[in-house]
Every structure is written in structure tokens, then in C-alpha cells.
Symmetry: C2
Subunit: 662 residues, 2 copies
Amino acid sequence: MATETPETTETAPDETAGYTQPEIDVAGLTRLLDGRYAEMRDLVRKNLVKSADVLEQAETLDIPAFKDLVKDVVVEVAATGQTAVAFPSEYGGSDDTGAAIAAFETMAFGDLSVLIKMGVQFGLFGGAIQQLGTKHHHDAYLTAVISGELMGCFAMTEAGHGSNVQALGTVATYDVETQEFVITTPHDSAHKDYIGNAGRHGELAVVFAQLEIGGTSEGVHAFVVPIRVDGEPAPGVRIEDCGRKMGLNGVDNGRLWFDGVRVPRTALLNRFADVTPTGVYESPIENPNKRFFTMLGTLVLGRVCVGGAGINASKVALAIAVKYAARRRQFDTAPDQPEQLLLDYGQHQRRLFPLLARTYALHFAQEVLASRCHDVFSGVVDDEADRRALESRAAGTKALGTWHGTRTIQECREACGGAGYISKNRFEALKADTDVFTTFEGDNHVLLQLVAKGLLTGYASDFSDLDQLGMVKFVAGTAVDTVLERTNVHKLLERVKDLLPGGDEWDQEAGLLDPNFQEAMFRFREEHMLSGVARRLKRGVDEGMDAGEVFSRVQDHVIATARAHVERLVLDAFVEKVVEMPAGDNKVAMGLMVDLYALTTIEADRAWFMEHGRLTTQRSKAISREINALCRKVRPVAVDLVDAFGIPPEVMRAEELLTWGD
Amino acid sequence: MATETPETTETAPDETAGYTQPEIDVAGLTRLLDGRYAEMRDLVRKNLVKSADVLEQAETLDIPAFKDLVKDVVVEVAATGQTAVAFPSEYGGSDDTGAAIAAFETMAFGDLSVLIKMGVQFGLFGGAIQQLGTKHHHDAYLTAVISGELMGCFAMTEAGHGSNVQALGTVATYDVETQEFVITTPHDSAHKDYIGNAGRHGELAVVFAQLEIGGTSEGVHAFVVPIRVDGEPAPGVRIEDCGRKMGLNGVDNGRLWFDGVRVPRTALLNRFADVTPTGVYESPIENPNKRFFTMLGTLVLGRVCVGGAGINASKVALAIAVKYAARRRQFDTAPDQPEQLLLDYGQHQRRLFPLLARTYALHFAQEVLASRCHDVFSGVVDDEADRRALESRAAGTKALGTWHGTRTIQECREACGGAGYISKNRFEALKADTDVFTTFEGDNHVLLQLVAKGLLTGYASDFSDLDQLGMVKFVAGTAVDTVLERTNVHKLLERVKDLLPGGDEWDQEAGLLDPNFQEAMFRFREEHMLSGVARRLKRGVDEGMDAGEVFSRVQDHVIATARAHVERLVLDAFVEKVVEMPAGDNKVAMGLMVDLYALTTIEADRAWFMEHGRLTTQRSKAISREINALCRKVRPVAVDLVDAFGIPPEVMRAEELLTWGD
């Protein structure tokens, strides 16, 4: 062990050799980002500008008035056709899931209460009726749902059970005499909680409840239940407003209790299971677990959308912070010189540019996810394994995209100093409204466990089950050999060597900017972590620990593995996108972003790479120097890179920051 | 380079050997935390309970009404004597700076608008009059300031200049004819900004301005200027409210413009400099730079207080999250068992317990800082070097304490899931109100640069100068040899070897829980980083780069060095406290906290230690395993550890979380 390593010069040797500063074609880069749905994104931009006042009104109206305003905006936007696209054409839609996702993502540039209320109404509520219901329900509701005339709820989460949906407590008992279901909240912690549209505007709710027929439980199913009639709670329904929240106060979240509420037999959303008039339970899917996760799986869109929203909210924060730092000066650097621009400080570049690169990377990973989602929902792909891979990818991208949002918005707020604290400079709403993204639509840690489980079980049919008990048993039982075989270290190294020449020393010879090196590092980490998790799970069970204890002790490793996997998917998506670009300055700039994303991701986990023999200490330090050099190359194009996001100035607000020094 | 390292068992071998689970005496631990000022802290707890309603009213009142309420609470608390203690006894105080800091810290358990308005009124405004003024000013104002009858502002920050105070633009020109100063805002970006008490309640302001006499500028000085008379802006003064902020909306921040406002010659706060009637400038401190920083230095209390507030706000968040996780169950672990408690999940322990340990560590570091501050302010210590070391320590503790607050509150919010998003569960206010702590009273990055500068220059007399240009020149010039000499690697290793036996291999033989090992690691990192910064600064200048460029490139290293230094001070303070404790279970529990703080700090920077030859990969992994083992030991005492903070339940709110399952 060396006692001392000499400092080397900080400038990477190839920092300028053969490198020409790119001049970005901003409009071209916006086209690249907008992709296939540029037209839809432009429609949304127009709608955002029209309703831009809502960002200010969020601060001036009282909460009930703001909720009503947000509802009005949702209905106005619906009238432009923007929100119908995911629905079938016979109800006014265009069967275009991809366009719907693009619209949602773009709406995240604006007020996020409007966004989330749309997500509740058209995604969760409308989506549940469409995906879990059949023609009867579609005919009855979809037209009014799409226009916003009929507002509704997605009543899944309960106070006692958030992420663990399978354990929820609400009961729907079939009464064969009257051919009705009786919906009941059996104990207080089984009340529905945080339900959007329940507090004020919802008339109907899709209620998830344990179906009981003749004393037998058939598991969780969804029912259409009226909760409000003429503005008053429906008979047997108790409604409470959730009260003030940290953010998203334009969304009327509420709590629901059901006291023997009777709905007709046809209120069951019966695409995957039905009850005959005489009380016989029927389903084309035999395995109850599989049935449950098939139902849940149709709701993957929510996670896809929230992840995209987190990524796009990050863009707003970065655009403000980067543009401000390119104008704001502070502290002298030399006598008789103007003070130095914030963006010329190395530390300021280090704070903002890696987040910018990760935002670009996540954007293109989200584009791949949305496209897969579109293919599955439009029937282009109809394979069960593909569906499961999509669910896993949605879970992972949601977790990384929303954590990235929280982190980026915070860093950008701090980078704007005290001015970032003033509400009209936009960060208040960005921070407060996005904060819940990391824990709703599935808590991020639980979602990453879902991703890891998919990897460990090879997407076995019950992989979506969130229960760690099942996973531990499955992995420790039959699956571990498969995983160990698959992630066998020698095979792993073989696969990596396919990417890079150089034998076992593949990681020492390659250039840090060699895409194969970056890819090999990401893959090595993911697969090595995965095999470690499998072995630790098996060892724990073999040593006689109970499944809960085994899982608890391996949990941090499980989550790290999932994160490594998703970060690799993100890299792949970004690299693939850039490879396809025609040669030119925009491609050079995107290349900087890829390198910065790849190297900062490796740097953040460089201890792991050293611990696992894949980074020498010298090479680790070289990566940090290379990142600093990349930041200096990004500096001159940083403003163009955020301008390319195409955020309408009307929704950025922050006038004081964006016109600083004018 | 090894291609593969085998996984070892995760349980540290000595996890249970010779270890008996401590039973915490909670009241005793509270006494330890409360320390010398237990009585004052108990008075504050009583005052907090009396005004606990303000936490709810923050959500229900409109902003102007909330501001008025907060003012009323401040005046009520003042009536209990709590806020007078820092002031001289002749004006009703008790000359007890330490008690004043303890009071402020404890107030941070409650509504933070009340806290910050108190800080503005009694700390910044009152403190400036006391510290920068003389008997004339004390007699004229202090009694009314202490009672809250005369509300005032500390008008330093300008829109154009926040952290760089020396460059501010407001001008005070001496008019020898009338023996007045004429206060003027010469251009728009020189208006005072974010000034507490300016928006609504302040009648007087201590205004910092460039003093000009007969065309000569004498630098920044402070003047007492009336800004409001009978509720209306004073003649020549323009006031704007800052508008809605992300948080702290009970504080009336405002903007001030001065258009030739005339104040008498005695309005100059003349402790460190005066102007004679005929316009002769006089000061006992010859060097203008030194004079400026002597004035600023008297204001160190503000930073001490804000850092303490960040630490105590973290306690509130942790108390809620830990107590909730000890009640809330989610997901099965075994058939026929109740669902598992959140706090029994390894990942959940990993999220919360290292933050808990760091909170304890920062608490005791803050106690040392407050005690040094007390000694300097009460004249027990009156050495210039001590004052500078105090300023540096205050800057560093403020940075670490407030970043810790932001991070801890966020993690705790997420750990409480959707419930953490509901305002009455307390996190909204904690997050929004504390957010600005990281950038006010000195931006944290700028403050850490100040710390590094002190280290690099050996607290040379102009060390407080925030200008990086001066630092680069100073270090690259005369100071570098001293620093290099001081941090010479061989000497450094000698010093470390004093702590640990074992020759050059000191770090490989020692137990991970050996306090000397932990200390040696912290010291090695700090001193090695410091010498690296000195060498890089010198090399940059030698290579002909301009000072700004040199600084920009070394800036991340500068900040990392300061952080390493402060983290070592924190460790030392914590260890010293625990060493003094009598043997017993509380000491065992504090020992767990010390180890957890030390090892998680090393773990977070383990890449650096590996890069610099001070951690083998095996030992690095062993540290992570040891941390997991420590977390399991903390688990049974975690609730006691947060109960010991002594936070009144009335100000915790979060009833739903704290009584979960009852």
C-alpha cells in the first residue's frame, strides 16, 4: 500500500488537443429533444403560455379558490384535445399513448398542480376505466371523463397501506340477493388517503377493494363508486379534505370512508375478472397473484409520467440557474477587472453541469421508456416478458428521475442564493410541488426493490409482487443458481472483454472517453452487484436467518444494484441516441454530455470500483480531472444547452434572475 | 490489481462480543445535551409551548396577518426576559452570550419565522448597535430594542452584493456644513435586499454604506437611519416588500432605497471609527481592511446562531421520522407475522441513523463553538488569533450545520412517505423555512472558502477577507512555504503515528472502532488536502495563470479541505464530550453515536482515502459492514435517542405520525 501518491497536474493532457468548441444549433437541438411528438409538445407549450398566470395565482388565491382555478385550467386544456390522445378514437381520442406521455412531460414546465390534476383525471381515473373496464364502462364514462365534465378519483392508497397495495383493507362484498357489491371501510386505517379529486371535485371513484363472495376473498379488484352527488357526499360515503400540503395545493386530495355503499354488479371493472349474477367468480387469469399484477401493470403509465415530470421540472430549475450564473458577477478576480461571472467558477460548474448532463441522459432514457410504453399499449408488442420489463423500467426511471428532480432543484435554488428563495423566482413551486414525486406512485425505494427483483428472478411471472418475503424465498430457492450462473464472474468478464480489448486489464488501457470503457464499467458494476445480492440472500437463508432479517440486511445492496442497472439503461439510451445523430456541432455537444454523465456516474461510485478492483487510485483521480476539463468545455455552450429545452419564458418566471444586469 | 475480491460475511465479527445493549436514561441524556444552559433551555421550552399555536396559524393566516402575529409573539417572548440575556446588565440584560445562543438554538424547535425575526431584532439589529455603537447609541436604543418596542433592521445585503460585503454600493457622504451624513443608493442594484423587519415593522435600520469624506472613501461603515415614521416610509426612503418567499413568511423582508437621506454625525456607529465635526476621519485601527473585518467579526454571533438552528431543526425532523418508523409497519416478512416495522429495515436504519449520529456530533461541536463565542464576547478571551479562529469555526459549523439540516429534513420527509407531505405533519414548515439557511448569513460555499483561507494563511491578519484573489496571491507568495512545511507529508505521518502505533502501516492494524484510528484518519485527510491545495495554488501561479483562473480550478479542492477540517473539529468535540462522561449506559450509547459519525464520515469519503493510500479495499468494505452492525445496535435505543432532544410535543405537531397505530 503506497503511503503517498504524488499530485499530478490537474489539466487532462488531451483537454484541447484536436477539440474544436462546438457552436450549437439551438433549434436543431430542441427538435432532437422533442423527437417524434414535437407537434404535441408545441401544442402544450401554447397551452402553457395561455394559462401561465396560474403560476402567480398559486401564490395569491386562497386554497379553495386555487383548486377551482386549477380545475378550470384542466377543463380548458382538455378542450384543446391535448388530454384525449391516449383514449380510443371512438371516444374522441387517437389511441396514442406516446403522445399522451409527451404532453404530460411538457406540461411539467408549468404549474404542477395543473399537471397532477390532469394525471389524476385522465391518467389514473380515466386510465383505470379504460384499462380495467370494458365497453359498458367506456360507453358510460369515457366521453365525459375526457372532456373533464365528469371528474373522478383513483382510490387505491389507504392510510394503513401505501406501497403495499395487495394488503389494503377496503372490502367489497357481493350480495347475491340484490346483485350488488357492498363497499365498506372495515377499520379506520383502511380509509382511502391522499386521493386526488376526492377533496372537492370528484363525482366518481375507481375504488380498489378486497372482493369477497360468499365468505371467500378473491383479492383486490376495482369498482366504480359514486362519491359525490350534486356537490354533497353520496350516501354512505364520508369525505375529508387532506388539508394543506407542502405543495400541489391546487389538487384537492381527500380521504374516503365507505359505510356499506351499494353499487350494482356492473360497477366491477371487469376486464380481467367478473362475477356472474349468481355470484360465481370468473377470470381468464387463473393465478390470483398474476391477476393482481396484470391489473396493476396496466397502470404503469402513471409512473412513466411522473418520472418524466421530475426530469422536466429539473430542466426548468437548470435553465434558471445556468442563465443566471452566466449573468451574475461576484467577487474580484483581478484588479481593474469586472467581478467574475458565477458560471466561470470551477465549483459552480461542478455543481450545475453534471446535473445538466444527467438531465439530458434521463431525457433520452425517458424517451425510450415512453416509446416502449407506447408499443405495449398500442399492441405493437404484446409479450408478457416485455410488459414486465416495461414495468421494471418504468419503476426504475421514475425513481431516478424524481430523485434527480429533488436534488437538481435544491442545488439550483442554492446556486441562486437569496434570490432563489423569493417565490416569484420559481423555486418555491418547483421544490414544494415536486417533493412528493419521490414517494407517490410507488415509494422510490420500493420501486427499486421491484427493479432488483425483476433482475434476480429473470422477470419470473410473479416478479411484480412487491413482497420481499417472496423474493428472498424465490431467489434463495430455485433462482439463485440461475442468477449465479448468469452473473458468474468469469462470464461477466468475458462479456466485458467483448466490449474492450486488453484481457483482464481492459479497464486500465482504455481512454476515459472511450464509450466502450464507460459501457464496460457500467455493465461490470451492475452484474457484479447483482451476483453479490444473490449470493448474500442465499447465504442468509442457508444460515437459518428468517426471510425478513435476510432481506433487511441485504436491502441496501438490493437498492444499489437496481440503481446501477437503471443508470446503465440510461447510459445506453443516451449513447444510442447520440450515435444516430448526424456529424456536426450538436453531436459534439451531446458527446460532452454523454461523457460527463458517464464519468460523473462512475466518479460518484468510484469507491465501489476501487473496492472491486476496477479502478486504480491513479485512474480514479484522472477521472475527476477529466470531469473538471469537461466542465470547462461545457461552459461556453451551457446557456445554449438549457435554451434547447424550449421552456416558454412565460412559465419560467424568475424575470429578476433571467434579465440580471440588463 | 485484483480482478475479483471475494464477498465476506456481512456481520462484523465483534458485533456482539462483549457488548451489552445499553438502557438509556433519557432525562440524563437531555441534561447532557442541555449542558450549562439547561435553565434557559427550559424557559424557552415553556415559551415555545405557550406560543405553539403559531405553527398552525402559519398555515391559516394570510401573510400580513401572520407577520403581525409573529411580531406579537416576539414581543411576548421578549417580556419573559429570554431575549435580553446577551445585552449589558445596565439595559436589563445579563451579559451572557452563551445563554443567548442556547436560547436561540432551542427556539429552533418551534416556528422558524419567530426564530428568524428574533435573530433579526435582537441578534443582528440589537447586536450591531451594541457591538458597533458606543454608549450614546446604547442609551438611546437598547432598552427599547430589547423589549421589542423599537423594531429595526440590519441593512447590509444589497441586490448586487450579497456575500461580497466589501463591494457594496450604498454611499454615506459627510456634509461638513450641516454635520450630517447623506445616505444614498447610487444605482438600482445597490438597493438593500432581503432585509428582515424592513417590509412592515422596522422603524430604524443599521445601514452599511461606503463612507465618503471630502471625496475620499473610507470603506464600509454602519449608520443608524430611521426608515419608517408612524408606519410610513421616512422622507427619502423607499421601501418595497420582498413579496412571498418559499418560507419564513412571518418575517417581513423588504428592500430599501435611500435618496439623500440625512442623518446626524452621531448616527455613525462609532466604536471602531469616527468622524469629527470638521470631517476628520479617526480610527484606532489603522489598516482599513483590518478595520472592516473587525467590524464584521463582531457579527459572528449570527452565524453561530443559524448553524445551531439548522442542527436543532434536524432534531425535530429526526424525532418525527424515527418515532413514526418505530410504529409504522409495512410489508410481510413471514407468514402469520405482523408486517415489519419500518425501523427494522436495514435500509431505513441506514437512511436515518447516520443522520442521527451526525446530529449528535454537530450538537456538541456547536456547544464548543458557543462556549468559545461566549468567552470572546464576555472578554474571558481577548486575543486576535482566538477571535479569528472563532470566526472560522463559526463559518464552518454554520455551513455544515445548515447543509445537514437541509439533507436531514429531506430524508426524514421521504422516510415518512405521503404523510410527510401533509402540512400538519410538520415537514412543510421545516423544509421551507430552513431552506434559506444554507445561503444566508454567508453562502455556505463562500464560508468554507473563508475556513480554508484561515487554514492556508495561518489566520494571518487579513484572513477574513473573502476575496479569493488576495488568498491566491498570499498563498502563492509568502505563505506557501509555511503551509508546505506545516503539512509536509513526513511530518504529517509523524503526527499521525503519535496517535497510533504500527509505523507506516498505522491504518491497517488498528480496530475500526479505535478512537485513535478514527482521529488519525480525519487528521490525515485534512492535512493532506491542505497541503495539496497549497501546492496547486502555487503551481497555478508559477505557470502564469491569472489568480481568478487558478482559484476557479482549485476551488472544489479548497472547499473539500475546509469541510474535512470542520468535520475533524466536530469529531474532536464529540469525542471529548464522551470521554468526560461517567461510565454507564448513556456513555455506551454516545459511543455508538461517535463511532457511527466517525465511520460514516470516513465511508462517505472512502474513495479519497483509497486514492491516497489510507484504506485498502478490504478495509473499506469492512467499514461499511461495521456501519451496518452499528445501525443494528442503535435500533433498540433510537427512540430514546430522539426523545432525549427534549422537543416539546406541542411543537412537534405530526400527531398522526407520532400516535400511529394507537
